[in-house]
């Protein structure tokens, strides 16, 4: 199955409220109770502040392709964790993204981890619940 969206009713683990956010609190845009895991092909990468965004094309069980867009850390935080612009994530790559759904847009998410085709799992954005401080 290449399309797997889990809108879990399980409350996300709320980490220490004192954890810093890079730009805004997680809850301002995303629902920590709606986990999502998607595998797809990278369509585009926007390597910009205050967040990177990337889109992946996800093929559903019936063959329908849906494009999902994800928000992540700013480039400086990703670079410090080993990401490289135009190298780590680029159009055509097959990736699996774990994150949470946006509150207001059906095909937008906050990426927490990206698993690359070679198996590497990279932090892409903050844990749910961060941003209290």
């Amino acid at each position: 199955m290449t399309f797997r969206a889990i809108a879990a009713g399980v409350a996300a683990s709320i980490l220490a409220a004192s954890a810093a956010s890079a730009h805004h609190s997680f809850a301002a845009g995303f629902d920590g109770e709606k986990q999502i895991t998607l595998t797809g092909t990278v369509a585009s990468v926007e390597w910009t502040n205050p967040h990177i965004h990337f889109s992946i094309d996800v093929t559903g069980d019936n063959g329908t392709v849906t494009q999902w867009r994800f928000e992540g850390y700013p480039p400086n935080m990703l670079v410090r964790q080993g990401w490289r612009r135009d190298v780590t994530l680029k159009p055509g790559d097959t990736v699996t993204v774990f994150g949470w759904m946006a509150r207001d847009e059906p095909n937008l998410g906050a990426a927490r981890h990206v698993t690359l085709a070679d198996g590497r799992k990279l932090a892409a954005g903050p844990p749910a619940g961060t941003g209290g401080r």
């Binding site: 805004h24 301002a28 502040n49 205050p50 410090r80 509150r103 941003g131 401080r133």
Partner: protein, 273 residues
């Protein structure tokens, strides 16, 4: 020295090394003893705060939970006094009601999400590093976030008479032994102190204390006073960690900030309910 004497001497040296090794292994925490460099000093004898630093709490986002725990373990192994527990906000009922309104709106009103300069002390806790440059008569802090900076005179001058209310306020410093004490006032009312809804008035006064207590750490102790929102002084504590292989990079927040449009949509379509 005869052959026997050399042999006895080698045996004695070996025995001494073994004893020292055993003593090192017998540290209560079981950690190998690491000879940390001493706290560096400037030519005028002051503890030198210069370097690139980041708040310990920011390690959660920078490197993950394991790195955060490792930092706390390193502090314990180094014998640093534990950080005081967080203090509850001593808000007046009115200020607390305002904060609760902001919390109910999930933080969409955050000035930081609008790419406005983050105030003091909140700017110190961001998951992007900052560089302290210590000079004989001033200390300069260069923050990666917002590409912001503070110039803190330490030559005895006071706050200027023509202060305009500002996001970062006006800072003047002095040395209390090895501690840099910074008095910050002259704030506007457009920043939050730490987290969502931590409002303040233009009567805010912040006193920061920076103490480089080990080579790798600065103890950061903050006292916040604001008669308009607090019933008593509020204290905030953090440890800054040296980032020896780091450099300050450019960070232009407003480059592609889509959050404002999203928050507007959320207000209209009921996503906050």
């Amino acid at each position: 020295m005869s052959g026997h004497a050399r042999a006895r001497s080698s045996c004695a040296a070996a025995a001494m090394l073994a004893l020292l090794a055993a003593a090192a292994e017998a540290q209560p925490d079981g950690a190998a003893r690491r000879e940390a460099p001493p706290v560096p000093r400037t030519a005028d004898g002051k503890a030198d705060l210069s370097g690139i630093w980041i708040a310990t709490g920011a390690l959660l986002l920078m490197e993950g939970e394991e790195a955060l725990q490792a930092a706390r373990d390193a502090d314990a192994a180094a014998g640093r006094a534990p950080q005081p527990p967080p203090e509850p906000l001593p808000y007046t009922p009115e200020a607390d009601a305002t904060r609760q309104q902001y919390l109910a709106r999930l933080g969409i009103d955050d000035p930081m999400a609008r790419c406005l300069l983050t105030g003091v002390p909140r700017i110190s806790f961001r998951p992007l590093p900052f560089e302290i440059v210590q000079l004989p008569e001033r200390v300069i802090i260069l923050y990666e976030i917002h590409h912001a900076f503070r110039i803190i005179p330490t030559d005895g001058r006071g706050h200027p008479e023509d202060m305009e209310p500002s996001y970062l306020g006006d800072s003047v410093g002095h040395w209390d032994g090895d501690t840099l004490v910074v008095d910050v006032t002259g704030f506007n009312e457009d920043t939050w102190l730490t987290g969502v809804g931590t409002v303040h008035s233009d009567q805010l006064r912040v006193t920061e204390r920076y103490t480089r207590d080990t080579f790798d750490t600065i103890r950061y102790e903050v006292t916040l006073e604001d008669p308009e929102v607090f019933t008593k002084a509020w204290h905030v504590y953090e440890t800054f960690r040296l980032r020896p292989n780091e450099r300050i990079r450019e960070y232009e927040c407003i480059q592609s900030n889509e959050d404002l449009q999203r928050f507007e949509r959320m207000l209209k379509d009921g996503s906050l309910e």
